[in-house]
């Protein structure tokens, strides 16, 4: 019996079990199996579909409500109002405030440094293009300077849900299903986004901060700032005139919707009450662990559990402390967590399972002669990053490389620069972005700026995400050169016939290894916006 006969039978068995097949017509390399899989599916359409369990509609509603809550967390930013306890500090820095961009941000930064912990109620209001406003949620927030937090939904879809990260563990109490889900404390990919420190950091990184007026918010006098971030649409921030801290934020109108988040009450304390950040599973609730990690006490345990001796980075870089060591035995990974007052990092290592293949969107460089790739922020979790706890998005940065049969990754930091600095300190190495010298296409491709700007807007609103991937843009371009009449069926240039040989985050070169391609190299640039949200545009190519 041939392997195709066995694969075909396995495929039928999986469908009969109503399970997703391991391989299907979209992924098989065999043209014969592709046709046979399709035929099986066609014949199966004569059957009545297997319907879900009777509670499916309820599960659907629960999933939607959870997603709604998560979306709000992603969209909402921190503001602070009613600051009484730290008024002395604000008087001290008051004269600095509102004189210019730098001083405004500096004043907020100084004010926040005096806040040990705050407790407030935040309201999220959504307004549509017709000007109709709707209160989406009210959330009680406790947050501390050390990064720990407690949030509880008061009204709206997430009402009753409690989320806590006490710096040692993260958990979420879900009263609907009577479960407590536990997660590693870092990286906290769904971290609550209302942190004052994060808000001030964003203002520090902004392209411009401009005072555009005054308007009271929640009964407090406030100055309105227009902030143009380095990437993305401008937004407005209301800053309390007395406390010099953010009070309200309003996003730009996107897809006909605008969000305004206001702290309607606020008080200050020395710390979050201990009982709120002490882990406890309420009676009648079930604990569900979402962490594949196992904390160990010493390197020797990692060697015993994983079968290899981890590279010795026992000593934390100067200025950082080593918080904990953990292993993910299924993936053969060891992770070391470091932190200082400002930032946290996790260093991961394991045996290299494949050749080094950076994410197509990664910036390429060399770490002590070894090819390394930076994603800022992280997008695709390829290679060593695909193991263990998933970390998508949330502003995390990653630097990965391979050396002597091992794969390494450092994740964390507030910026790409701080990630590089930490990694250099940790490894006693030097990172250099790959030299982009000699960047000169033989044939230049004219650019339609209006079209590119419109395409950027389209991508900003969630369409055509492939424009953020230089390899994909090059694939489409080279495929159309090979088949100028249009592409029907598979792209004539295959995924494995593309190699990103240069990418400094703004300019990239992709080599086409397909001998039939009239294009040998595709040159791309981020023309409209030069950050991770900018689209790639083909500006030239070399003929084969």
């Amino acid at each position: 019996m041939t392997s195709n006969e066995i694969k075909l039978s396995d495929f039928i068995d999986r469908l009969n079990a109503e399970r997703k097949p391991d391989e299907d017509e979209h992924t098989t390399d065999s043209p014969e199996l592709k046709e046979l899989y399709r035929t099986v599916k066609r014949v199966r359409t004569l059957r009545e579909p297997a319907l879900p369990e009777s509670d499916f509609s309820q599960r659907l509603v629960q999933r939607l409500k959870a997603a709604e809550q998560h979306t709000r967390r992603q969209k909402v930013w921190p503001w602070l109002a009613g600051l009484a306890g730290v008024a002395m500090v604000f008087l001290f820095i008051g004269n600095l405030f509102f004189s210019n961009h730098r001083n405004m941000v500096y004043a907020m930064e100084q004010a926040f440094q005096e806040v040990q912990a705050y407790h407030g109620v935040m309201e999220v209001v959504e307004t549509n293009a017709a000007g109709e406003s709707l209160s989406q949620a009210k959330v009680e927030v406790w947050a501390a300077q050390d990064g720990s937090y407690y949030t509880k939904g008061l009204e709206g879809a997430g009402a009753g849900v409690v989320t806590v990260n006490n710096g040692e563990q993260k958990w979420q109490v879900l009263p609907d299903v009577k479960e407590v889900h536990t997660y590693p404390e870092f990286p906290d990919s769904y971290r609550f986004a209302f942190e004052l420190g994060q808000e001030i950091d964003e203002a520090k990184k902004a392209l411009s901060v401009e005072e555009v007026g005054e308007e009271p918010v929640a009964g407090r006098e406030a100055v309105v700032l227009k902030i143009v971030p380095d990437g993305g649409e401008a937004y407005h921030l209301w800053v309390d005139k007395e406390t010099k801290l953010p009070l309200q934020k309003e996003s730009a109108l996107q897809k006909g919707l605008q969000y305004r988040i206001t702290y309607t009450s606020m008080e200050f304390d020395e710390a979050i009450p201990a009982e709120l950040v002490a882990f406890r599973v309420p009676e009648g609730y079930m604990e569900v662990s979402e962490s594949p990690e196992q904390t160990i006490r010493h390197w020797h345990e990692a060697e015993h559990l994983l079968g290899f001796a981890p590279a010795g980075f026992e000593t934390a870089p100067a200025g950082y402390s080593l918080d904990r060591i953990a292993v993910v035995t299924d993936e053969g990974l060891v992770k070391v967590y470091y932190s200082n007052k400002e930032e946290r990092f996790v260093f991961t290592q394991g045996k290299a399972k494949d050749a080094f293949t950076p994410a197509p969107t990664a910036i390429l460089g060399k770490l002590d002669g070894h090819t390394a790739a930076i994603q800022a922020p992280m997008g695709e979790t390829v290679g060593i990053l695909s193991g263990g706890t998933p970390y998508g998005g949330a502003g995390f940065h990653s630097l990965v490389w391979q050396e002597d049969g091992f794969a390494y990754a450092v994740q964390g930091g507030k910026s790409q620069e701080s990630l590089i600095a930490f990694t250099e300190q940790l490894t006693d190495g030097t990172f250099e972005v790959m030299d982009s010298g000699g960047w000169a296409p033989e044939v230049e491709v004219p650019v339609d700026w209006e079209k590119e700007k419109n395409d950027q807007k389209s991508v900003d609103s969630g369409s055509s995400p492939w424009r953020l991937d230089p390899a994909f843009v090059a694939q489409v371009f080279a495929s159309l050169k090979l088949s100028p009449e249009g592409i029907s069926g598979e792209y004539p240039i295959k995924e494995d016939e593309l190699k990103v040989v240069q990418n400094d985050g703004v300019a990239a070169v992709v080599e086409i290894t397909n001998e039939e391609s009239p294009v040998e190299r595709v040159y791309l640039q981020k023309l409209v916006r030069q950050d991770e949200t900018g689209i790639w545009t083909v500006v030239g190519y070399d003929e084969r």
Binding site: E5, D13, R14, N16, R19, E35, R38, A50, R63, L64
Partner: protein
């Protein structure tokens, strides 16, 4: 995509999530199941489609009669993205499957024609081949149970099944090309 769907002009309050889900999930689920042919994927993709679509449905007051069409369109986009992700993971993807023709079949007349074509194709198989396809695919028997019913070895069942599907594929192609002839 969203612009293709009418927006309510009246002051009717938007439907709740529970109301929308309860009224629409089954046709949307069936639409997806038709394309993936297994409950696990169909449930996942249905949920994802609702997550992506719900905010727009509620905030933009899409007319209720347009909900299902909108959700199906979102589901198709998810399927496309899914195949592209498979490709991104280094697997080949059959972009031909992105062809709307291959994804359509939502029209009752077209579905009925498809059914007739399939039944005609099954009738063209020899007795053993048809029997194996009926048991294995239409009735969901395991290879072992099929072998017991037919009093054949499991290996033989797999070989018959493979040949039957090869034949079916050719027969279906012939029917669609209008060149049906005896293929056994």
């Amino acid at each position: 995509m969203a612009d293709d769907y009418d927006v309510q002009k009246d002051e009717t309050p938007p439907a709740s999530i529970e109301e929308i889900c309860s009224a629409t999930w089954e046709p949307v689920y069936r639409f997806i199941y038709y394309r993936v042919q297994n409950r696990e994927e169909a449930e996942d993709i249905t949920q994802e489609a609702y997550v992506k679509a719900m905010d727009y449905l509620r905030k933009n007051k899409v007319k209720p009669e347009k909900y299902i069409g909108f959700l199906k369109t979102v589901a198709l986009n998810i399927l496309r993205d899914l195949w592209r992700k498979k490709k991104r993971r280094g697997q080949r993807v059959d972009v031909e499957a992105l062809n709307p023709k291959d994804l359509a079949l939502d029209d009752p007349a077209q579905a009925s024609t498809e059914r007739m074509i399939l039944e005609q194709a099954l009738d063209s198989l020899n007795h053993d081949q048809r029997h194996v396809i009926e048991l294995r695919i239409l009735q969901g028997y395991s290879v072992a149970d099929t072998a017991k019913v037919l009093e054949k070895k499991e290996t033989t069942v797999r070989v018959i099944q493979y040949r039957a599907l090869k034949n079916l594929s050719r027969i279906l192609q012939s029917i669609e090309e209008g060149t049906i002839h005896d293929i056994q």
